[in-house]
């Protein structure tokens, strides 16, 4: 056989081998879905993910290292890591009431530490640097990103077990959020100077529902007004998805984004169930993708061209796989019980997330503390929203 024949045989063999192997790879990364996602009790993998987070919160040195790594890229991640961890702990406390005695002090520590940092260094401590370079349109200058998430942490803690000193703190935040939203004709409050992010608006609406459930207030009229305005002005015409950001005047900055919409659909579940389900279905259609049995999510639909940024994370060209959107897709899929998509996302995170299981702890090396906290939240969400709806119905 001459050299050319050998090459031809070799290439043919490689081609046939690829056709055999590539569709089968995902079987080797198939995960037990019930070990990660279940409607009752705490999934074992969630326990393992939490073990690492708890160690970080109990070991100030390890925590400082982890937080410094994230803050070097984005101060928001530090803040969001705290938020998602508190929300996960609230859900886990409701899933396993016997463990609440262990989780509640951790939640309180995180909340106290977050409030302390905000008090001492201002809201900018949790915002990206460019927040300092512009001027907030609303007065006084406040960030809905910070107010909304802190209010949600306070509400989540109170939904597990009442803590009277958190009640006025929650209501101060809510008053500030509504005042900020009312300053805009579009009912949009700023997260950054003249930037209103849908992620934070949806969080604020969920907080209002939580406060209504906790304290018998009634923000339903405001929420209805907000939804009507958003449906009229903030839906992307080609996809029907809510746009990710706009100015206080309602001028769209960023169109639909995966790193926003998966969370938004979940947050809207306690605000308007059918609108939330519609947003999830549209997001799934526009953004969810699968290659060889591995699931992932795009950051933008094909009808919108955005720029890679800190929210999208690195985007793999060709596939348009966005790490930010794919991580948050777990939240959407879990919230809407989309087990088929969860199974495919799990296979992908085990092949490309670089998991390490050691001494009863699980972490994904390709992720960071906030990424793992989002995954933990996706594994445990449910009871908190159910509790809001249960109390609201009473």
């Amino acid at each position: 056989m001459n050299r050319w024949q050998r090459t031809a045989w070799g290439l043919a063999a490689l081609g046939i081998a690829a056709v055999i192997w590539l569709p089968c790879v995902h079987f080797f990364f198939h995960q037990d879905l019930d070990a990660h996602f279940r409607t009752t009790g705490i999934p074992p993998r969630a326990d393992e993910l939490l073990a690492r987070h708890l160690r970080l919160w109990l070991d100030p040195q390890a925590r400082a290292v982890e937080i410094q790594k994230m803050r070097a890229s984005n101060a928001e991640w530090d803040f969001m890591g705290r938020t998602f961890l508190v929300l996960s702990l609230a859900n886990m406390s409701l899933r396993a009431p016997g463990r609440a005695a262990v989780y509640l002090p951790v939640m309180d520590t995180i909340i106290a530490e977050t409030l302390r940092l905000e008090r001492e260094q201002g809201m900018y401590v949790f915002l990206m640097n460019y927040a300092r370079r512009g001027h907030f349109v609303g007065k006084p200058a406040r960030s809905l990103f910070v107010d909304g998430a802190i209010a949600l942490m306070l509400a989540a803690r109170r939904l597990v077990t009442e803590r009277e000193d958190y009640r006025p703190l929650l209501h101060e935040r809510i008053a500030a959020m509504i005042a900020a939203m009312r300053q805009s004709k579009m009912l949009l409050a700023e997260s950054y100077p003249d930037e209103c992010w849908m992620f934070d608006q949806a969080t604020a609406l969920a907080v209002l529902r939580a406060a209504d459930a906790l304290d018998g207030t009634d923000h339903r009229a405001f929420v209805r007004e907000w939804l009507a305005t958003a449906r009229q002005k903030l839906l992307h015409p080609a996809t029907g998805l809510l746009c990710a950001s706009s100015s206080t005047a309602g001028i769209v900055g960023d169109g639909p984004e995966g790193s926003t919409i998966w969370w938004v659909a979940h947050a809207l579940q306690v605000v308007d169930r059918s609108f939330a389900a519609d947003q999830y279905a549209r997001a799934k259609h526009e953004l969810a993708r699968e290659v060889c049995g591995f699931g992932f999510a795009r950051e933008w639909p094909t009808s919108w061209q955005g720029a890679v940024d800190i929210d999208s994370g690195p985007v793999i060209p060709g596939l348009q796989l966005s790490t930010g959107s794919s991580g948050l897709a777990f939240v959407g899929a879990s919230a809407f019980g989309d087990r088929e998509y969860l199974q495919k996302l799990l296979a992908a995170v085990y092949v490309g997330g670089f998991p390490v299981r050691r001494r009863g702890e699980l972490k994904f090396c390709a992720s960071n503390q906030v990424g793992d906290a989002v995954l933990l939240y996706a594994m445990t969400l449910g009871p908190l929203w159910q509790e809001i709806e249960r109390r609201a119905a009473q």
């Binding site: 063999a13 046939i16 081998a17």
Partner: protein, 112 residues
């Protein structure tokens, strides 16, 4: 032996298997050296907390590249090596049976 493996033509069973082995051994070595930790570059987080730490980022990229090569590529090399070996055996069998037939024909002719 190692030299023979290294110099085996790429498109041969031995050549493909030796490449697969080399990639796997390198991957295992980097894994044991703890390079998996550097893959946090995938989410935009500096592995060492220092955004200008280029060597750590390069380590992360090498590990990620090698990981996907081993997961997706190495089994293809192994399967292809198996297919080439089967094809070679088939060709050998064919040429043997051809020469056997030739002997029989010759034998028959001489007998006739």
């Amino acid at each position: 032996m190692i030299r023979r493996l290294w110099h085996a033509p790429l498109f041969s069973s031995v050549g493909l298997l030796s490449r697969a082995g080399l990639l796997t051994m390198t991957y295992i070595g980097l894994h044991l050296a703890g390079w998996r930790e550097y893959t946090s570059i995938l989410c935009g987080t500096a592995p060492t907390g220092n955004l200008s730490d280029r060597p750590a980022q390069v380590c992360g990229l090498i590990y990620v590249g090698l990981h996907f090569t081993v997961v997706f590529g190495v089994p293809i090399l192994v399967l292809a090596a198996g297919l080439l070996a089967l094809a070679a055996r088939g060709r050998k069998g064919k040429s043997r049976s051809a020469s056997d037939n030739g002997w029989k024909r010759k034998d028959a002719t001489s007998w006739r």
